[in-house]
Point group: C2
Chain length 96, copies 2
Amino acid sequence: MSTPQQETTILVGKKPTTSYVIATVMSFNAGAKKVILKARGGGAIARAVSTAVMIRDRFLPNQVRISDIKLLTDKVTGQGGKERSVAAIEIVLERV
Amino acid sequence: MSTPQQETTILVGKKPTTSYVIATVMSFNAGAKKVILKARGGGAIARAVSTAVMIRDRFLPNQVRISDIKLLTDKVTGQGGKERSVAAIEIVLERV
């Protein structure tokens, strides 16, 4: 028996925004009720926001809503072992 | 009679993040109950998110919370009159 995955998490990184848009659409089409976009650091945060609005307004309009957004500070240990803070975002997209 | 401004809107653009952090702290210190950070486009969105978490977690901890976040698509008319969509964010910071 296969149980469709209800919730998918997509880590948004350095690929072009369209990669994450496609991954999100595929997750919803595969039966996900919820897709969580997680991103850390400037460029990735911008891509996560772009992905979310493109999905909601263009690719799955009236089918998906943004149900939650969290802004976080993550601690990252950089080269040389020095700890620094980096902004992060979690955007929850949900089937309406 | 001077009435303190209850709500301030800060447009986040191309300056370094610290500029917006300072502007936000000054607004709260001047008596604002609410500061709204608005940003459009990749880099500015990242700076708005960084500003918000730095204020909440580092500069005014336990004094300010993020009470609302909106993700939007704005239409922008570029060079040559061609219209394109650009992601935008509005982050509401509020005194607790």
